[in-house]
Point group: C2
Chain length 136, copies 2
């Protein structure tokens, strides 16, 4: 490994293309959705209804951290790590919002959920995730 990661070259300088290189897949935005809801523990991401495979989850969390969208931290007195959005990550809220709005409007059977999932651990250490709009 060299000093500079030398990112594997971008497809173009289009901001849409470059953003898609970071989160253009079936899972990344769902992990971000969970982060915005206040989910911060590995097992709670894995418990989301879409049932992401744990190898994919580990990979996506790594990628998000690597790209400065999320960060890994360990609360004092704990050993198990947690995850949270960085400012960069929080700035994705309009993206999630627009995606959620389109889905709600155009895909029958989709439902907005205003409350975070009821797993107790998701609420224990984190504030209820300030929400300016619904993201699912």
């Amino acid at each position: 490994m060299s000093a500079s990661p030398a990112q594997p070259q971008r497809r173009s300088c289009c901001p849409v293309a470059c953003t898609l290189d970071l989160l253009g897949d079936r899972w990344t935005l769902l992990v971000i959705r969970d982060l915005m809801r206040g989910v911060d523990r590995y097992s709670d991401f894995a418990a989301s209804p879409e049932k992401i495979a744990t190898n994919i989850l580990a990979d996506r969390l790594d990628q998000l951290v690597a790209h400065g969208i999320a960060e890994r931290f360990t609360p004092p007195g704990r050993k198990h790590p947690r995850y949270r959005l960085t400012d960069r990550g929080h700035d994705l809220r309009p993206v999630l919002g627009a995606v959620a709005d389109w889905g709600l409007r155009h895909i029958p059977g989709t439902e907005a959920r205003l409350a975070p999932p009821s797993t107790p651990s998701a609420r224990r250490t984190t504030s209820p995730a300030r929400r300016t709009r619904n993201t699912d």
Copy 2:
């Protein structure tokens, strides 16, 4: 083939997850970006700077048509087909806008492009694509 396509089951009723099932990959949103710019011919999509492979392009156009996001039409007196967004597809503009905004703000080296690409055919039959904001 039966009468009802019987969609291959959704992962959850979350609008984000469902939308991602339709356009959560590295290419679909780029095709939509081009459609929003007024690109309407197969060869012009293929000529975009990201250089989508033609088999992927054909597949993505089929998917977009199948999901009612784009439509295929043949201008009178022509034989070669064209593509355009449906209303459903035009409603994705806020998504593209939010993605583009995030990319411009957070990924250095990305550039907004206000004019459609200079290929003459893209302008010939289509109006210059009303733009309320930049999508790349």
